[in-house]
């Protein structure tokens, strides 16, 4: 899966799972400050990412994710390894 595909799937997940508005989602958007996703929402998103992409994201890496783009980075790294 290439980056644009992951980005598109990520956006879909954010809209479907967290109910976010599609036009607010940019790769530089911060989950908590810009998208107002609470801490539980970030956990939910990570679980959805694991299920959707079939990857496992350890807590230490998950804690560092601040923006949408960083979440895509982590998924890309997992998919490539």
């Amino acid at each position: 899966m290439d980056r644009p595909e992951v980005e598109a799937k990520m956006t879909d997940l954010l809209v479907d799972e967290l109910g976010l508005e599609r036009d607010k989602i940019a790769m530089g958007a911060r989950f908590e400050e810009d998208l107002e996703v609470d801490s539980l929402g970030v956990v939910e998103l990570l679980m959805a990412l694991e299920d959707t992409f079939g990857v496992t994201i350890p807590d230490e890496e998950a804690e560092k994710i601040v923006t949408v783009g960083e979440a895509v980075d982590v998924v890309m790294t997992k998919l490539e390894s």
């Binding site: 609470d38 539980l40 956990v43 939910e44 679980m47 959805a48």
Partner: protein
């Protein structure tokens, strides 16, 4: 709507009554047992005869790996757990000065730590489904303590802290987390108490009798239902007016 319910320690006593009640209320029930397979099968049969659906699933909830396998099996056979009842509990009574570390550890592990692991496993599916009920079976001993039961009381009190904390974390996702605190209930656990203990307990109970497992199960049934949709982080005491 037919919810999937998991009752740990559901083969006898209060757990059996809870499993039976949830089955009667229309849930598809996974009756977890540690060693009482025959007893668990009986509970399943009774639920089926009454028109419900149930399965028996063996797992020692003191073992976190067994919990993961338990949830996988229930998910495969019935679906993701929507109602979790953390009922499995043991006692290893002794005065604290004589209590061995193993006795402390074992009771904390089965009665409290197991609930931490099962809660994590269940929340995954409940968050996805945006609906959940977690009911933790604590005890009046967890509220007031009990001489000779420092480990049991500590674990049961711990369950109350767990209940209230998790309730606050997941309330926004339509998941309620509550506890039921039974007093003296007629089960194998209290059946093992000597006559002296029973005779000392009865005068403290306003209703003048021990409770039945069904009376505790009724409280669990309520908390697991839609009727309790605005109740969370609560400890529902079912003790016949103990200590008034």
């Amino acid at each position: 709507m037919s919810r999937v319910a998991l009752v740990t320690g559901g083969s006898r006593g209060i757990g059996r009554a809870i499993a039976t009640r949830l089955g009667a209320d229309g849930a598809r029930v996974a009756v977890n047992y540690r060693s009482g397979k025959d007893a668990a099968d009986e509970v399943v049969a009774a639920i089926s005869v009454a028109g419900g659906e149930a399965i028996a699933v063996g797992a020692d909830v003191a073992d976190p790996d067994a919990i993961a396998a338990l949830f996988d099996e229930v998910s495969e056979r019935l679906g993701p757990v929507e109602v979790l009842v953390n009922n499995a509990g043991i006692t290893a009574d002794d005065l604290v000065l004589r209590m061995k570390p193993e006795a402390w550890d074992a009771v904390i592990q089965t009665n409290l730590t197991a609930a931490f692991h099962t809660t994590k496993a269940a929340l995954r599916g409940m968050l996805k489904g945006r609906w959940g009920r977690i009911v933790n079976i604590t005890s009046v001993a967890g509220i007031g303590g009990n001489a000779g039961q420092a480990n049991y009381s500590a674990a049961k009190a711990g369950l109350i802290g767990l209940t209230k904390s998790v309730a606050k974390e997941v309330a926004s996702r339509n998941i309620t987390v509550n506890a039921v605190a039974p007093g003296f209930i007629e089960t194998d656990m209290t059946g093992a108490l000597g006559d002296e203990v029973r005779d000392a307990a009865l005068p403290m109970i306003s209703m003048g009798r021990f409770g039945s497992p069904g009376e505790v199960a009724a409280a669990v049934g309520y908390l697991a239902s839609e009727d309790a949709s605005y109740v969370t982080g609560h400890v529902l005491v079912v003790d016949g007016g103990l200590g008034f």
